[in-house]
């Protein structure tokens, strides 16, 4: 029985006897408690949201293809930028990583399932009403929220009823994330197979453990900020409303106290995925496992003391600017440790470049560009020039698309055979990779120039001197979007339908870890009794 879809009648009989009480049809998904089924739903959901957010992004790029307004009015344009951000962050990237966590953490640590199977079901199904409310806000009176994904006060006070829908949706998604995090923490800390000590645990599980703590720490902070926005809007409070003595800058402090750890929430699990792939295809052990764990923890801790680098132009006192500038630049140190580790792992390995490795190397290369621009933005005097310009847009897409999204693709190609039981087509994977890499850079590299030249972000129209780079970016964006449709139709769909070469239990020569100790596709139930592990905790010995 495939864990992904009930395809064909040809599947094996060997483990069907495990399936007693195994619900079929819609019940299997609605009442799902199986970590693999829930993981699959998370991944499909996040891909659907990636498409919705992507269409909004293409709406933005279509409008910006030429100066002057061609397709949308500025109000709708602001709705596009706002909803693109909210949907990509809360609907696409975060749930995709939770999907990976669901699928891989129990398999990697030798656990039978997630600790709280029913809460797992709830945390997925909560996303559906939230997503409907977010996407549906376009059809509410006054249209979708248009205050930017950061929802800065007091602009949020001017929004229509859809603002409340968005606040409610983000609350629900936050609750979902917190439940998911509790589940991951309890699973990792309590359900590891005997012999799987914390310091033998795969880095993906480590990075998610740390990420889960970050989520639990900051999602309530976001909930607080948007709840205060809600009461300012409807119940006469003045937390952020200057007309009643409130402080709009306080909103920014609270938001970014959530917001900065949030960006690490979206990148740490990506580091985990890449740390699994590089050693496999270099056929060489990860250079510094311990320092990778410490570097991840350092990044997480530092993420709490750098938030106000998003606010250099609000007029912070000089000591505040200096503190946040230095603290932010320190993050380059543990991040550098990670990059050096990956390269040292590749050094004198015996490398092959199947699609997962291409994405992982692409990730390191392009993510590092985003890291460097981050360092430049951290310099307060330079940030005064670049804050709220396209330079910032370029920067965070280099770390979120070339970072998080590329790592997610790497993970899908790497573990997809385990999930579906079939190999993807190497040719198609390579087309997807090279197409995405080229179009990604075509889209976002020119934005650095636009930002340096002073083009502000969230502009529906712009001076004509900016026209050519915008045109290039728009062409790149449509190419990038098409590559993802190609990925879905020609890579994901065939794999899910079981079309393709049958995947062996361990498709990658040098892959290590317990997920390769179970058949492909992974049976519906795995590790029902705790496996006995060898000394390295990477193999089952009985």
């Amino acid at each position: 029985m495939s864990a992904v879809l009930d395809h064909h009648g040809e599947h094996s009989h060997g483990h069907d006897h495990h399936d007693h009480g195994h619900p079929h049809g819609w019940r299997r998904w609605v009442f799902a408690t199986n970590h693999k089924d829930i993981g699959t739903m998370y991944l499909l959901f996040s891909f659907a949201m990636l498409m919705v957010g992507g269409v909004l992004a293409l709406g933005i790029r279509a409008e910006l293809f030429k100066p002057g307004l061609q397709f949308v009015n500025p109000e709708l344009f602001n709705q596009f930028t706002t909803m693109h951000g909210l949907i990509m962050v809360f609907g696409a990237i975060m749930p995709a990583f939770v999907g990976f966590a669901n699928w891989m953490i129990p398999l990697q640590i030798g656990a039978a399932d997630m600790a709280f199977a029913r809460m797992n079901n709830l945390s997925f199904w909560l996303l559906i009403p939230a997503a409907i409310m977010l996407a549906g806000s376009f059809f509410m009176p006054g249209g979708a929220p248009a205050a930017g994904w950061t929802l800065y006060a007091p602009l949020t006070l001017q929004m229509g009823p859809s603002m409340d829908a968005a606040i409610f949706a983000v609350h629900i998604m936050g609750a979902s994330s917190i439940m998911g995090s509790i589940n991951i923490i309890v699973t990792v800390l309590n359900m590891r197979a005997p012999g799987m000590t914390l310091m033998k645990m795969p880095l993906f599980a480590w990075t998610w453990l740390i990420t889960a703590y970050l989520l639990i720490a900051v999602m309530p902070v976001l909930a607080g900020a948007i709840t205060m926005t809600l009461t300012d809007r409807h119940f006469g409070t003045s937390f952020f409303n200057p007309a009643g003595g409130g402080d709009p800058v306080m909103y920014q402090h609270i938001f970014w106290f959530f917001g900065h750890p949030e960006v690490y929430i979206m990148i740490l699990p990506a580091f985990g995925i890449v740390s699994a792939i590089i050693p496999t295809f270099a056929r060489k052990r990860l250079f510094g496992y311990t320092s990778m764990v410490y570097a991840t923890a350092s990044i997480a801790i530092l993420s709490f003391i750098v938030w106000a680098h998003h606010m250099f132009t609000t007029g912070m006192p000089v000591t505040g600017q200096l503190f946040f500038m230095y603290a932010t630049m320190l993050i380059a140190v543990p991040t550098g440790v990670k990059i050096f580790n990956w390269i040292a792992t590749m050094w004198r390995g015996s490398m092959t470049f199947e699609t997962p490795m291409l994405w992982a190397v692409g990730f390191i290369f392009v993510f590092t560009i985003g890291g460097f621009t981050g360092l430049i933005l951290a310099m307060a005097p330079i940030d005064i020039q670049l804050q709220d310009t396209y330079y910032v847009v370029a920067h965070f897409h280099y770390v979120l698309v070339a970072g998080s999204l590329f790592a997610l693709f790497a993970g899908i190609y790497y573990w997809g055979p385990k999930w579906t039981g079939v190999m993807y087509s190497e040719t198609r994977g390579k087309i997807h990779f090279w197409g995405s890499l080229i179009f990604f850079n075509l889209t976002f590299f020119p934005m650095h120039f636009l930002g340096l030249a002073g083009m502000p972000r969230r502009y529906a129209d712009y001076p004509m001197q900016f026209a050519d780079f915008n045109e290039i970016a728009s062409i790149g964006a449509f190419g990038f979007g098409l590559m993802q449709v190609y990925f879905f139709l020609f890579v994901v769909v065939p794999m899910m339908r079981g079309q393709g070469e049958k995947a062996p239990q361990k498709p990658w020569e040098a892959a290590e870890g317990l997920e390769w100790e179970v058949p492909s596709p992974a049976p519906w139930h795995t590790f029902e009794t705790p496996p006995k592990l060898d000394a390295s905790a990477t193999r089952v010995i009985g």
Partner: protein
């Protein structure tokens, strides 16, 4: 310096190549705007203040350091990718963990980032130092325009709104943009003197806006209910442009900033004109005044403009005619005195005062007709001045 130039040249060439590829059929006719964006600009604006110069320098240094590290790190990676391939028969080595190496690649980056921070510290302190300004101007963000109030220094009291040229907004809606200053042209630019420290105090009326002029290296959020400040000292005269940099609603893209930097003398002349314009605009010439109000107003106008020559006691001095007891002033025909005031007399020894407003002239004439020993009881309304001007 050489690396920097080569690098820029390389970038410029690469970008130009891309542009040729992508833009030929639609190329728009547009030129670089001095003080605003250049066509396909690749770098920060040419700096016009010391702060912007420092920002440019810091950015160049950072770019060079980052590019060097990038080349170093990825040189190693790509060497490895090319050489350490299974297809070339590479056998995997077995080394891992090295305390020395790991300490080195933690400590060296730490030192580098601290050094980077140290380079920037002076600039951070300098750009926050808004003390000892020659001129303080309040910039208020409104949805969707800027209001400027000259609070302190030469030009104090001047205030006006600065709005995007309505034709540009219409071009935008029509999807037919044109002009080098598209979306940057305003009705009333902010005018400041060159080589003076200008402190800009920002606030907002509704939501958060941000006041930005890239050539000055200035960007400061304008926050409703709060007052923040920034400063610049422009070292060149000319026109400089920026745009609102904080999302402020639907017309966010349509509230540009245009700063006109004038020489000290041009600035003084501009202030003069503004003050007079404002005084003129302040009074409605059709208003019918009462005698005592007009006399009170006229006393001020007299003190400001006439008393230097005609003396406060109205007796004049030397060749300057006395007003106290003057036949023209006492004449029942108000037109006689108005003709002198508007047209001047004695070959310009008595200048023309026509730049004063109708109300000011009416007030000062009424004042002189009813002060000192003059006691005509005559009242000159601003409307009569309007008539006399024709």
């Amino acid at each position: 310096m050489n690396t920097k130039n080569t690098l820029r040249l390389g970038l410029a060439r690469a970008a130009a190549g891309l542009m040729l590829l992508a833009t030929a059929p639609w190329a728009l006719a547009v030129n670089s705007l001095p003080g605003g964006p250049a066509v396909n600009q690749l770098d920060l604006h040419p700096p016009v203040t010391k702060i912007a110069e420092q920002q440019q320098w810091l950015h160049n240094v950072m770019l060079i350091i980052c590019v060097l590290i990038f080349i170093g790190v990825f040189g190693v990676m790509f060497y490895s990718i090319l050489k350490h391939r299974k297809s070339l028969g590479a056998k995997p080595a077995h080394f891992h963990e090295s305390v020395a190496v790991e300490i080195a690649w933690t400590v060296v980056p730490f030192i580098i980032v601290i050094a980077m921070g140290a380079m920037a510290t002076k600039a951070v302190v300098a750009q926050k130092d808004t003390s000892n300004a020659d001129l303080t101007i309040k910039a208020t963000g409104y949805q969707w325009k800027w209001g400027y109030d000259y609070l302190k220094g030469e030009g104090e009291g001047i205030k006006f709104l600065s709005t995007l040229d309505v034709a540009h907004r219409e071009m935008s809606d029509a999807g037919k943009p044109a002009g080098d200053d598209y979306l940057l042209k305003v009705d009333n630019p902010l005018v400041v003197p060159v080589n003076r420290k200008i402190r800009i105090v920002t606030t907002a009326d509704d939501v958060i806006h941000a006041w930005m002029v890239p050539a000055f290296g200035v960007k400061q959020d304008a926050i409703p209910g709060f007052v923040r400040d920034t400063w610049f000292r422009a070292e060149k005269t000319g026109d400089f442009y920026g745009q609102c940099a904080e999302l402020c609603g639907k017309e966010h893209a349509y509230m540009p900033i245009h700063v006109k930097v004038l020489s000290q003398t041009d600035y003084a002349a501009w202030v003069d004109v503004q003050k007079k314009k404002m005084a003129a605009a302040a009074d409605d010439p059709t208003k019918v005044w009462k005698l005592e109000d007009l006399i009170a107003r006229g006393e001020k106008v007299y003190a400001a403009n006439c008393a230097v020559c005609h003396r406060p006691d109205g007796k004049g001095a030397g060749p300057i005619k006395p007003l106290d007891g003057s036949a023209i002033v006492l004449d029942a025909d108000k037109g006689k005195q108005l003709a002198v005031v508007l047209g001047g007399a004695a070959n310009g020894a008595m200048p023309s005062w026509k730049q004063l407003s109708d109300t000011e002239l009416a007030a000062v004439v009424t004042y002189t007709k009813n002060h000192w020993s003059n006691n005509t009881g005559q009242l000159v309304q601003p409307a009569e001045v309007v008539a006399a001007r024709k």
